[in-house]
C-alpha cells in the first residue's frame, strides 16, 4: 500500500532535538508552546518521554524538527539515554528563579557527553523569564558560562511566549548550517552522500527517525 503523502511529510531535513534539564523547569511547556502554541500552568509531570514535531523554514528549506521531551528526575536518566541516539541538538533548560537548576547544568552537560553524539549542538535556555521579581540566576552569569563552554544561550518565557520560537529557530538554523556546510565540503567518507534533490537525514541509519522515512516502500 502506498502511504498517502501529507504536507507534514514534505521536508528537506529531519532534525532530532532533545529537551533536557531538571524537573519543573518548564521543558514540556516549551515543547507545547513551540509545537502546538499551548501553555498549561500546571501540566502533568513527564514520565518517560514525550514527542512532538513541527516544521519550519530556514533559507528556503523545510526543516522538520522532531522534538523529544524527557523526564527530569535522576531515576529516569538511565532509561532516557536511548532518547539521545540520533539527536543533533539539545535544549538544556534551567529555571531562572531556581539557582540549583542552573548549578545542575554541568551535570546535564556530562550526561550529554556520555550519551549523545559529540557533535550535538547545545543551547542553554533560561526559562521563566516572566518571573522577573523572582530571578536568582543573572543573565550575565549564564552568558559567560556559555562563552566558556561554547554553548549558545537564550532566555525564554513559555508562559508569555517570549523567545520560544526564536530559541528553536536558532538551534535548528545552527544545525542546518553545520549540516549544509558538511554536505558541501564533503571530507569524510562516512557521511551520507546526497545526490541532487535527495533528502538528507543527519540521523544515522539504524535510527528510528531514519526508519520513519522508509514509509514509501511496500
Amino acid at each position: 500500500m502506498k502511504m498517502s503523502h501529507k504536507p507534514d511529510d514534505d521536508y528537506d531535513y529531519l532534525f532530532k532535538v532533545v529537551l533536557i534539564g531538571d524537573s519543573g523547569v518548564g521543558k514540556s511547556n516549551l515543547l507545547s508552546r513551540f509545537t502546538r502554541n499551548e501553555f498549561c500552568l500546571e501540566s502533568k509531570s513527564t514520565i518517560g518521554v514525550e514527542f512532538a514535531t513541527r516544521s519550519i523554514q530556514v533559507d528556503g528549506k523545510t526543516i522538520k524538527a522532531q522534538i523529544w521531551d524527557t523526564a527530569g528526575q535522576e531515576r529516569y536518566r538511565a532509561i532516557t539515554s536511548a532518547y539521545y541516539r540520533g539527536a543533533v541538538g539539545a535544549l538544556l533548560v534551567y529555571d531562572i528563579t531556581k539557582t540549583v537548576t542552573f548549578e545542575n547544568v554541568e551535570r546535564w552537560l556530562k550526561e550529554l557527553r556520555d550519551h549523545a553524539d559529540s557533535n550535538i549542538v547545545i543551547m542553554l535556555v533560561g526559562n521563566k523569564s516572566d518571573l522577573r521579581h523572582l530571578r536568582s540566576v543573572q543573565t550575565d552569569d549564564a552568558q559567560s558560562f556559555c562563552e566558556k563552554e561554547g554553548l549558545s544561550f537564550i532566555e525564554t518565557s513559555a508562559l508569555e511566549s517570549t523567545n520560544v520560537e526564536l530559541a528553536f529557530q536558532r538551534i535548528l538554523t545552527e544545525i542546518y548550517h553545520i549540516v549544509s556546510k558538511k554536505v558541501l565540503g564533503e571530507s569524510d567518507g562516512n557521511g551520507p552522500k546526497p545526490g541532487e534533490g535527495t533528502r538528507i537525514n543527519v540521523v544515522t541509519e539504524n535510527n528510528e527517525a531514519a526508519a520513519k522515512k522508509s514509509g514509501c516502500c511496500g
Binding site: S23, S45, I47, G72, R75, E208
Partner: protein, 352 residues
Amino acid sequence: MEAQQPSLRRVTAEEQASGSPAFEVRVRRFKSILEAPTVDVGALKRLTHTGIPDRDGLRALAWKILLGYLPPDRKNWDRLLARKRSEYANFCKDLIIDPGRGSELPTTDDHPLSQNTSSVWNAYFKDAEMHEQIERDVMRTHPDMHFFSGSDGAAVTHRKEMIRALFIFAKLNPGLTYIQGMNELLAPLYYTFSTDIDHDAGKHAEADAFYCFIDLISEFRDNFCQSLDNSHLGIKATMGRLTDALRAADQELWLHIDIKNKVNPQFFAFRWITLLLTQEFPFPDAVRLWDTLLSDPAGRTECLLQLCIAMLMNIRNELLEGDFSQNLKMLQRYPPVDVNAILYKAQQLSLS
C-alpha cells in the same frame, strides 16, 4: 486451582447507568458481599472485575479489601483501622524533621551551615529537596480536576495530605524513596477514599491511601527501581514481555510498529506500565480500569500487559496506516475510546 475466571461478557450500558434496574441489581450484589460478617474475597474479585458501581462508597471498601488493607473478617476492621491510623499519625510525628524542634542548644557540629553529613540540618536539607520534588508533582496531579488542583480549602488539603503521604512513604523506603509518577498511583486511591460517603472513613483517607499505596507499589516497585532496569525484574524486562505478547497476539501489528517503524516500547509503554494507565485515560475511565486490574485472577502485572495489548489492538487500523511519527503521537496521546471495548478485548486475550 478453582475456576475463578470471570465469564467473557461485555458490561451493558444499562448496568452502568445509575438508577437502572440492572445497575441496582449490581449494587445489591456488591452490598450482600461487602456487608457479610466475612467477606467472600473470591466472589468480590469476580464481581469487581466487571466494574464497581459508583455508589455508596462501594469502591472505597472493595479496594481496601482487594489491596489487603482490610481483612475478610468484618469484626476486626475497627481495631485494625484504629491501629493503622494511629501508627500513621506517629510516622508523621517522627519522620518529619523540624531541626528547630530540639530543646537542647545546637551543638558546635549541628547548625544550618554544617558540612557534617550526619547533621540534623543536613538531613533536613536533603528532605527539603525531596519534599520539593513531591510538592511539584502533586501540584501537577490531574490539573484538569478541581479535587486535586482547585484553589479552595478542600483542594489545598487534598494536596497537603497527598504530599505528606508520599513523603512518609519515601522516608520509610530509603532504598526507593520518592520517584516521579508515584503521585499518579496514589491519586486514585486517595480520591476514592476521600470521597467515600462514610464520612468517618473519608476523614482518614490519607492514612488509608498510604497503606493501600504500599500494597499496590509492592507489586510494581521494581518498575521504579533504577538498579533493576537491566535485570529480568525491571521495567525493561516488563516492556520486553509486552513486545512478546504483542507478537503472539497480533503479528502484523507487531511487525509494523516494532520492526518496520521501530517504535520502541520505551517510548510509550514505559509510562503506560509505570503509571498503571492513569495518564492515558480520563480519570473515571482509569478508575474503572483499576477495578479490573486490582481483581484480575491472572495477577495485576499480567492484567496490565493484557490491557496494554488490548489498547494497541483497539487502534490497530490507525497504527497500521501510520509511520513512526504518527504511531508515536497516537500512542503517547491515546485517542478517546470507550474503555469497555479495551476491557472486553483484554478479557478475550486472557481467555485465548
